[in-house]
């Protein structure tokens, strides 16, 4: 059921209620004991406790984003890409402590690039020869990682900028 809303500065709607067909009045209802709380939806937004709920969650995100950004900037000083192969890929898990894949896997190539250009590369070999197939796949993944990083950083920076506009009081 919609409540009447302020409509100043706009043409007033005709008051159709005056033209309504008269309806016989209902019999006087029997008195009903008053419920302790009125049947009003409490959506939890503008009561005193939760008034700033949206602000809190967004600010919470800003804080997390802030700490994430500083970590991401630290991480951005290096790029670490590793390529593994496995005959039983289903058994592979990610070890968070070691930050690497574990299980039935074989590390075949690794690239570690520092922002100053220092690069550590572990090249795959088969029978003493460079495994060109694995190497090509690995280099593709390195290039893709570079592109991903640029794209994601752009998105994060743009997010940080837009957040400022929400929390800066307008003049």
């Amino acid at each position: 059921m919609s409540k009447p809303r302020p409509t100043a500065d706009i043409p007033a709607m005709p008051d159709f209620s005056k033209d309504e067909t008269p309806v016989p009045s209902a019999p006087e209802p029997a008195p009903v004991p008053q419920a302790e709380s009125a049947p009003v939806a409490n959506y939890g937004w503008f009561d005193a406790e939760s008034q700033g709920k949206l602000a809190d969650s967004t600010q919470n995100f800003i804080q997390k984003l802030g700490s994430f950004l500083s970590k991401a900037l630290d991480d951005a000083l290096t790029l670490d890409v590793r390529t593994y192969v496995s005959e039983d890929i289903g058994s592979v898990t990610y070890d968070k402590e070691k930050s690497e894949l574990v299980g039935s896997v074989q590390l075949r190539a690794m690239t570690y690039v520092k922002i100053d250009g220092d690069t550590l590369v572990c090249v795959p070999e088969t029978d003493g020869e460079l495994d060109t197939a694995v190497w090509a796949v690995h280099m593709d993944m390195v290039n893709q990682a570079r592109e991903s990083r640029a794209e994601l950083m752009k998105a994060i920076v743009s997010t940080a900028g837009s957040l400022a506009s929400v929390f800066t009081p307008k003049s």
């Binding site: 059921m1 949206l54 299980g103 993944m141 990682a145 998105a155 929390f167």
Partner: protein, 269 residues
């Protein structure tokens, strides 16, 4: 078997999915074997048909869907600029009436309807005046909750590595754990051919682009709320306008997705 692109978040249904992605009820089955991702990690799972041509076609479609969603999102700031420039402003303006200027259920009409709620809240209409069944207020509240949930999901996404896996005809080809800074570990099934390798590379790219797109959704909503707040009167206007901006952005993306599904249906039909 049609291609399926699924996003799984730990213990909750993803909000604001774009492009080809569908939600997968957690916990996800990690296909073949006992492997499990970090339980807190989002899992982007791409399941492709066995036919190489169909698999490539499905990926091409997914890439196009993400690109279309990116383009649509990029138009939002300009669209909002145009709307706010022409909309009347001031404490006495009813945005509900403004919304009548748009075809019902368009993103613009929905947004102005929610903005009207923001205006009324801004003017101090207390919660006690909202009777059960006030559909407009319920819609505003629903949008607020959705945006809050989305923000929470994004928080968790940025704090964890994502898992991206590619399956063809139910067989897992490769898995990548990828962080926001680009660091990645990929494990490939031995003896894959070039075409299979390309499938995973493209799946990974679609997942990573979508992840960035979700972040951009957030910034578009917050930036949009700041624009809409110019139509309101108090400094808290931008916060009150967040649900309206969220609704606008998600409605535009939903329209794109519906159109894509129809087009895809026609292609397959």
């Amino acid at each position: 078997m049609p291609a399926i692109f699924e996003l799984t978040l730990p213990e909750e249904e993803p909000i604001g999915l774009v492009g080809p992605w569908e939600s997968q009820a957690a916990p996800v089955s990690y296909a073949l074997g006992e492997a499990e991702a970090d339980p807190a990690a989002p899992v982007w799972k791409v399941s492709l048909p066995a036919d190489p041509f169909e698999a490539e076609q499905a990926l091409a479609q997914a890439e196009a869907q993400v690109a279309e969603a990116e383009s649509a999102l990029a138009t939002v700031p300009a669209r909002l600029d145009a709307l706010t420039a022409s909309a009347p402003r001031g404490a006495a303006v009813s945005f509900e009436v403004v919304s009548y200027g748009f075809e019902a259920e368009t993103p613009e009409a929905e947004m102005f309807s929610l903005l009207e709620q923001a205006r009324q809240l801004e003017q101090g209409r207390g919660v006690e005046s909202y009777a059960i069944g006030d559909a407009a207020y319920a819609a505003w509240e629903q949008a607020r909750i959705q945006f809050e949930t989305f923000t929470g999901q994004l928080q968790r996404e940025v704090m964890h590595f994502a898992w991206v896996e590619t399956n063809v005809a139910g067989h897992l080809l490769a898995r990548t754990t990828v962080g926001w800074s680009g660091d990645s570990d990929t494990v490939w099934l031995v003896d894959l051919d070039a075409q299979q390798i390309a499938l995973h590379r493209r799946s990974l790219q679609v997942a990573v682009k979508t992840r960035a797109l979700r972040m951009r959704m957030f910034s578009t909503v917050t930036g949009g709320a700041a624009k809409l707040s110019m139509l309101l009167t108090t400094p808290a206007g931008a916060l009150l306008a967040l649900p309206a901006a969220w609704k606008y952005v998600t409605e535009i993306l939903a329209l794109i997705k519906t159109h894509q599904n129809l087009t895809q249906g026609e292609t397959h039909g």
